[in-house]
Subunit: 344 residues, 4 copies
C-alpha cells in the first residue's frame, strides 16, 4: 500500500500517523519530494482500511498494491482449481464443462426431454431454474420446491448433475441434494447469502453482477471461500452499458484477465448476456476460443412457449450443432494463463 | 402494447397468434404495411409477457406502451404520496425531509452526539447503519443487534425517528421498533426481501441499484406495494459509469423524471453517490433545487476515525452550514411535476 | 414508423397532424385504444424527422421500425460486400483479412522489419500510424508526411498494402497512394471528414467510437456510402464502461449483430480494446470464432521502446504463434449471418 | 510518479531502468518491500511517458501523482479565470452567464425574435447553430454561411454576443466576427481543430464528449491553451450510460470537481443532456445551486416546428419563468471551490 501525503501536511500530524501505522506492525518507507511525500507500507496490509486513511486531512491519495482477496488469488495459489462432479465431469485446469438446460423447470416431461437432448449433444450438467428472480412481481416466479423435485427426477433419468439458482438462504434445506448452487447476478453482493454458502462443501457458481467489477466478483468469491468452501466457479453473463443492440454487453476479456488473477474456473453464459438465441452460438464459440473453462447455455425444446426467457433459448438441434464447433475449437483455445502453461 | 410482425410471417401462424391474443381478452387493431404488419393491443396488457411474444418466429419486435407498474404509477394515482413519521415530520407533496447521521453506529456517545447535532441543524430523521454491506469479508460489518439498540437509545434521547438498513429478511424481528427500513442499492432486486417488506405497514426506503434503470426501481417499489405496503420512498445514490472522478455518477435528472412517473417521494443520498465530503453540499443543494423531496446525508463527529466511509462524512458544523442554504433554496425548487402543480 | 398519441390530444390537432403526414405521401393506419391512439405510417419514412414529431404536444412517443440507414442495410443488399486489395487479398463473404503492424511508424528499419515479420506470419495488410491522435498536446503525435513515406517504402519492400489513419480532411493529398484509410474512434462522428471520404473510391475502415451505438456506427458508414464510396469496413475496438481491468470493454457480440444488420465486413482490433498485449491473442481468437471478417493487430519488434502504445503490442514471434491458432479456428467460426448461409 | 516493480525483476534490469530515469533529471526514492519495490520519481515528470514505462517487463504498475495538464490546472493558477465579452458580460469567479437561443438558425425573423425574448429574460449571450452535426447524412445540416450571417444580424439587433459551433477548421474564416466558438461533444477530441483554435485569441467553449472523462476534457482545454489561447470555458452536456429515461445522464458533480481541478469557468447545457424540455428547468436550477458559472439553454419560439431538436427547446415564456428562479437560487449556490473562497 502506498500513501501520498499532501504538501500542506504538518509534521506533527504526519508523525502521529506514522506511529499509528507502525503500531499495526507495518514497516514504512518514505520518499520526500518537492510536492508530495510518499509512504510505502510493507507488511500485511489486508487489514488496513483504505477508506479510513483516505479520510485523514493530511492524505492526498492511497493506492493498494496487493489485491484485497487472498483465497481466490492466483498469487497465493498458483495451481488451477479443478472441481469434480458426481458423474466424474470436471472443470478447471483444461477440463471444459458444458451446463445446459431450460431457463425454468416447467413439467416433468419438459425437463427430462431437455436433459436427454443436452446430454446427447455432450453437456455434462443440467441447468434449470426453480426459483426465478423476476423484475416484475406479476411475472412467473418458478415452481420452487416442485421445480427442485423435477430437477432431481431428471438427474435420476439421465445421470446429469444439477445446477440451479438460490435466491434466499432460507431455501437452503431444499438444495441439499443439488450438485451445484448458482448465485444470480442480482445476488452477487447478497453478502448474507454468500456467508451461508461458505459453510457448505459443494460447488457454488457465482454470476457477475451487471455493474460489478472483476475485483468485486473476486471479493464475492472470497466471501464464500473465507467460510472454508473452496469450490467456487465464476460466471460472466454480461454487463450493463449504453449499447442496446444486445440485452447486456458480454465482456469476454474477463476470461484471460480472471485466469491471470485467480485460480478459480471461469465460465460464460451467452444466453443471458445477449438475450437472443441467434447470438448464443457465436458468443459460445468466442468464449471457448478465449480460454473459458466452460459454458452455461439455455436450451428449450419449445422456446416459443417457454414460461420465461424464450427468445434466448436454443432448440436442441441448434445446441447440438453448436457443440460440434465448440469441440473443434476448444483444443486451440488460448490457455496461456492456466497453471500448466504459466507457472510450471 | 404494439406487436410488429415480420414480413415473412405466414398467414396461418398470424391467425393462430391473433386468436391467442383475443383469448386473453384483448382487442386487436391491425395495420398492414408493405414491409411490416403492426398489431395494436388494447385492454389490460399487464399480464401479457413480452418475452413470450418476442420468442415467436413471426414477431419482429414488441413495444410496451403502458408501464408495467401500477401501484407506483402516477397515471393511476395522481396525488403525491405523503408519509408521516412518529415525530410528525412528513415527506412528499412539497414536505421536505432531511435524514442525517453516521455511516455506522459505533458507540452510544457517538450516536447520541451526532443525533443531537443533526437535530439542532434541522434534520428530522436519524440515519445510522447497524448492518453494513461490505465488499470485503474482512471489513467491519456493523454492530448488528447492539447497533439497533443504540439507535433506539438515540431516538429516546432526541425524539428523532430512525432509518436503518436491513440486509436479510431473517433480521426483521430486530427492526420491529425501527421507524423506516432502508433497502440498500445491492439489495434493490433482492425480491425475497422486498416481498417480506411488503407485508409490513411502515415506510420502506429503496435505494436505486448502481446499474438499475428507473423502471426497475419502480418495479422494486411495486414488489413492496403489491404486498399492501404503500409507504415507499425512492432514493438516488449514484450509478456506475466510466467516470472515475467521483465514486459513482449522481443522476439528478431522475428527480423530475420520477416525479412524472410516480407519486412516491424521491430523495437523494449525495454522500454515497460522490464518496467525497467536499462534494456533498453542492450536490445536496442541486438535488434540492431540482425538486427532491428530501436528503439523506452522512454526518460524523469525527470522520477521521469513522469505522467506515469516513471520507464522505460531513462534520456537524459543515452540515449545519449546508442546511442553511438548503432551506434558502428549497422554496424556489422546481415542483412542476408535483400533484399540486400538475394535476389540481 | 409508429406514432402514439396522448390520451389528451384534441381532435382538431390530431386531424391537422394526420393531414401533414399524408402530405408527405404516407399512408396512415390508426388504432384507437382506451388510453392511447396508435398511428402506423406506411411508405418511405426515411425523410420523416422523429424529433419533430416527438416535439408535438399531442405525441407521447414515436418508434422507428425501419432502420435509418439504407446503403449499409442488409435488407436492401443481401450479398456480403467483398473488398479486394492491390495484392489480391480480400475481406468479406468468408475471406478473412489480417492487418498488422506497429502503432506508430518510427524509422525505415523498424517499419520494414515489422512488415516482413507480419507478412511471414500471414498478415496481408500492413498497419502503421503516421498521424496519431494523442490525448495530451505534449505527447508524440506521429511522423506525419515522413511516416506516410516510410509506409510506402515498406509496401515497396514487402508488397503489403497499407492501412493508416487520417485525422483531418486537409491531409487527404498525402493519402493518395495509401490503400485503405482508417477513421479513428474519436473521429467516427467527424461528419465533415466522412463526407470527404465518401468522394474517394478506396476502402475506408471506420472504428466504432468509445460511446457509440451500432446504429451510429452504421450511420457513419452511411455518410461515406451516401457519397458513392461503397468500400467500407467496420471495426470494433472497445467501448467505455465502468470496468477498469481492461482499457476498454471489447464488445464481441457486435460481430454477429452487425452481420445481421449490414453486408459490410466487420473486423476487430483487440490491441486497442484491451490495452494489454497478454490479452490480444485470446481476444483475437474469440473474434475469429465469433465470425469476424478480419483482425487488426499491433505488432512491434521492440515494444519496450515503442514511442506509443508499447504495452499493447505483440512481439513478432508471439504474433506468429497467435496466427497459427487463428487459422486453425477460422474454419469453425460461426458464419450463420453471412449471405452465403443466410440468404442463398 | 510512482513505479512499482515486479518481484521477479532482475537487479541488472532494474539498474538500467534507474539510470535511464536519472538521465531525465529525475530524483529517485526507493522502498524495497517483500513483494514489490516502489520507486518514487521526484522532478518534472510531465515529459515521462507512462505507457513506455508500463511496457517494460520489470514494471508491474505506474501511477501518476501530478496531473498531466498544466495551463488548465488550479494548482498552478489559483485565481478563477474571468472572461469578458463585448457587451461587458462576464463569466467566472462568481459572475454567472446565461447563453440561450435556438438549436438551429432558421430565418431572420426567427433568430431575431428569439434573441429579443432571451435578452428580455436576462440571457447575456445568443446561441444558435449554423453548422449542425447530425447523425444521419439525410438530416438538415444547418444554414452554414447564411446562418452565420443571420446570427450577426441578430447581434446587431440586440447587442447580444454570439456563440456558435464549428465543425471543421476549414470554416474558421466564417467565424471571424463570432464572439465565442463552440466545440461540440463529438469534436472534443478533434485535436487538429483544437490546435487551430489555440491560435485564436477569443473564447472557446468545449463540450465534454459523451464518453470522456474530466481529465480528457481538461487535456482538450490544454490543447487550446498550449497554443496561447487562455479563454476556455468547459461545458457539461451529459454522458452516455445504461439509463434510457433521459437522452444522456447529466453528471452534475463535475461542477464542484472541475472547480477543484481547474480555474476555468464551467457551464452546463441541460437541453442536450436531457433531451426533454420539461427537464430543462429543474436541471438548470440544480446546476445553478451546485455552483455552475453559467448555463446554455435551447429556446425556440415555435418548438413544434423547429428543424431540429424541438423536443428539448423551451418556449420563451417558460425560459423567462425559469430565469426568475435561477436568479433567486444563484446567491445561495455552493462556491466553496472558487478562488475567492478557497484560496484568498
Amino acid at each position: 500500500m502506498i500513501v501520498i501525503l499532501k504538501k500542506t501536511a504538518e509534521r506533527q500530524q504526519v508523525e502521529l500517523f506514522e506511529n499509528w501505522l507502525r503500531s499495526m506492525g507495518l514497516e514504512l518507507h518514505k520518499s520526500v519530494g518537492e510536492n508530495h511525500t510518499i509512504i510505502g507500507l510493507v507488511g500485511d496490509t489486508s487489514r488496513v482500511d483504505m477508506e479510513s486513511i483516505l479520510a485523514l486531512d493530511i492524505v492526498e491519495t492511497v493506492k493498494r498494491i496487493q489485491e484485497p482477496y487472498k483465497n481466490a488469488n492466483r498469487k497465493f495459489h498458483e495451481e488451477d482449481t479443478v472441481i469434480t462432479l458426481a458423474n466424474g465431469a470436471q472443470i478447471g485446469g483444461g477440463r471444459f464443462l458444458v451446463m445446459a438446460g431450460p431457463c425454468s423447470v416447467e413439467t416433468e416431461e419438459q425437463i427430462i426431454s431437455v436433459a436427454q437432448s443436452v446430454k446427447a449433444a455432450g453437456a455434462q450438467v443440467l441447468r434449470g431454474g426453480a426459483f426465478k428472480p423476476r423484475t416484475s412481481p406479476y411475472a412467473f416466479q418458478g415452481l420452487h420446491e416442485e421445480g427442485i423435485r423435477l430437477l432431481l427426477k431428471a438427474r435420476e433419468a439421465t445421470g446429469l448433475p444439477i445446477v440451479t439458482e438460490i435466491m434466499d438462504a432460507k431455501h437452503l434445506p431444499l438444495f441439499e441434494d443439488i450438485d451445484m448452487i448458482q448465485v444470480g447476478a442480482r445476488n452477487m453482493q447478497n453478502f448474507e447469502l454468500l456467508k451461508e454458502l461458505g459453510k457448505l462443501r459443494k460447488p457454488v457458481l457465482i454470476k457477475r453482477g451487471m455493474a460489478n467489477t472483476l475485483q468485486e466478483l473476486l471479493m464475492s468469491a472470497e466471501y464464500v471461500m473465507a467460510g472454508g468452501n473452496e469450490q467456487v466457479i465464476l460466471c460472466e453473463r454480461g454487463i450493463r452499458t449504453f449499447e442496446t443492440a444486445t440485452r447486456n454487453t458480454m465482456d469476454l476479456s474477463v476470461i484471460p484477465v480472471l485466469h491471470q488473477l485467480t485460480h478459480l474456473p471461469v465460465v460464460v453464459d451467452p444466453s443471458h448476456a445477449t438475450g437472443r438465441w441467434e447470438l448464443v452460438a457465436p458468443m459460445a464459440l468466442a468464449a471457448t476460443a478465449s480460454g473459458a473453462d466452460g459454458l452455461m447455455i439455455e436450451v428449450h425444446n419449445d422456446p416459443e412457449h417457454a414460461l420465461c426467457d424464450g427468445p434466448q433459448s436454443l432448440r436442441p438441434d441448434r445446441f447440438a450443432g453448436m457443440m460440434e464447433k465448440v469441440w473443434a475449437i476448444q483444443p486451440y483455445a488460448d490457455r496461456s494463463f492456466s497453471s500448466a502453461v504459466a507457472f510450471s
